[in-house]
Symmetry: C2
Subunit: 231 residues, 2 copies
C-alpha cells in the first residue's frame, strides 16, 4: 500500500489509519493552524507598546515606578498596571500614598528587573536568563501576576538539572511554584545517592528540615512502589 502522507510504500504490519481518518486528521490540522493564525493576529493587536522601549519619553506615563538603585523612574500607565495585577489595582484604587503621589517605590528589586517586569506587563514577553527568571518570578508572586509567574516557572523547568535540583526545589518551595517543585523533586529522586553532596543541601536541612524529610519520604514510597511492581 501507499501512504497518503509520505507517499512511500508500506506493509500491512506498518499500517496506521484508514483513508477517512487520515483526511479528517488533515482537516483538523488545517483548522488548528488557522486558529493559531487568528490568535496570533489578535495577540499582536492586544500587545501594547512598552514604555521602557528606548524611544518613548519618560513623560509618557501617568505613574512612575522607582527602585532604590537608580534615580531614573520607569514610566507606566495606571490602567495597564491595574489590569495586570490585583495588587496594583487595590493600591491605585485606594487613597494610598502611591495613588496620590503618582509614584510607586519598589525597594527590594533592581532597576533592570523592574524594567523587565514593566515590559512584560505591556507585551507578555521577556528575554529571560536563569537569574532574571528567578527575580521576575518573585516579583510576579508579590504582585500576583499569574501569567508571568507561569512564564518564569516554565523557563526554569527547562533549565533545571540534577546538579541544580536541590537549589531549585528550595526556591520553588519558598515561592510556591508547584510545577518547578515537582520537576526538581523528580530529578532528586532519580539521583538520591548524590543528594547529600549537592549544593544547597546543607542549607536546606538547616532552614527547611521538613522539606528534606518530604524528599526522603517520597523516596521511600517510590522504593516501596518499585518493589511491589517487581513482585
Amino acid at each position: 500500500m501507499w501512504c497518503h502522507s509520505c507517499r512511500e510504500e508500506y506493509e500491512e504490519v506498518d499500517a496506521g489509519t484508514c483513508k477517512e481518518c487520515y483526511e479528517e486528521a488533515s482537516e483538523t490540522e488545517e483548522e488548528l493552524k488557522r486558529e493559531i493564525h487568528d490568535l496570533k493576529a489578535k495577540l499582536s493587536f492586544l500587545r501594547l507598546s512598552s514604555p521602557v522601549d528606548l524611544n518613548l519619553p519618560v513623560s509618557s506615563g501617568d505613574i512612575y515606578l522607582r527602585t532604590a538603585d537608580s534615580c531614573t523612574p520607569i514610566p507606566a500607565h495606571k490602567a495597564v498596571l491595574m489590569s495586570r495585577s490585583p495588587v496594583f489595582k487595590a493600591m491605585l484604587e485606594s487613597e494610598m500614598e502611591e495613588s496620590r503621589s503618582g509614584s510607586i517605590k519598589i525597594t527590594d528589586v533592581s532597576y533592570a528587573v523592574l524594567r523587565a517586569f514593566v515590559h512584560f506587563l505591556y507585551t507578555a514577553e521577556s528575554l529571560l536568563d536563569e537569574q532574571m527568571a528567578c527575580d521576575l518570578l518573585v516579583l510576579a508572586e508579590k504582585y500576583q501576576v499569574k501569567h508571568l509567574k507561569t512564564y518564569c516557572e516554565k523557563f526554569m523547568i527547562s533549565k533545571v538539572n540534577s546538579e541544580t535540583a536541590v537549589l531549585s526545589l528550595a526556591f520553588a518551595h519558598r515561592h510556591n511554584a508547584k510545577m518547578l517543585l515537582e520537576t526538581a523533586l523528580g530529578l532528586i529522586l532519580e539521583n538520591m545517592s548524590t543528594l547529600t553532596a549537592r549544593e544547597g543541601y546543607r542549607e536546606l536541612v538547616d532552614k527547611e528540615p521538613r522539606l528534606v524529610v518530604e524528599i526522603y519520604e517520597s523516596y521511600l514510597s517510590k522504593v516501596a512502589n518499585t518493589a511491589r511492581e517487581e513482585q
Copy 2:
C-alpha cells in the same frame, strides 16, 4: 487491517497512512493544541478591562470620547487609543485640540457604535450583527484599526448571500474591503440572470457605473474561460 485512529477494520483500498506518519500527525496535533493553549493564556493576560463595562466609573480614563447623539462621555486611556490606532496616535501626540482638552468628539457615529468600538480596542472582541459590523468597519477604516476591519469583514463575508451581494459589493468597494468584494462578486457572477433585479443594482449603476462595468467584464471573461475549458 485495523485503523489506529477509529479502531475499525478497513480494506487495502481504503488505506490512509503508514504507522509512522500516523504517529507523527498525532504528535503534531498535540503540539498545535499546546500552542493554542499557550496563545490563549497570553491573550487573556493581554486583554484589558474595557472601560465601557458598566461597573467602571466615568472618571476612570484620562481621555473622553463623545458622540453627537449622547451627552454621556465614554472614558478611555490615551495609551490604549494610541497603541491601537495610528490616527489617534498622531492626534494625541500633537498639540491638537483633542490632546489639550482631553476630549475627542466623533460626530458621524452613534453612541452605541462608539461604545462597541472602544470596547474592541481594549478586548479585541465584539458582539456583532450585520449593522454593527458595517458601522464598526467604517470606524476601523477611519482610525486605521486593521484588526477590527478584518474582524468585521470576516463577519460580513459569513453573512453575504446572493440576495445581498450587490449591496455588499457596493459597501466593500466604498470602504476598500477586498475580501468581501471578492466574495460578493463571486456570488453575483453565479447569479447573473437576476442581477438587474437585485436591491441596490439601480443605485450602483447611478453612483458607481464603473464598478457595474467591472461586474459585466468579469462575467464575460468567466463565460469565455468556461467555453475554452469545455472545448
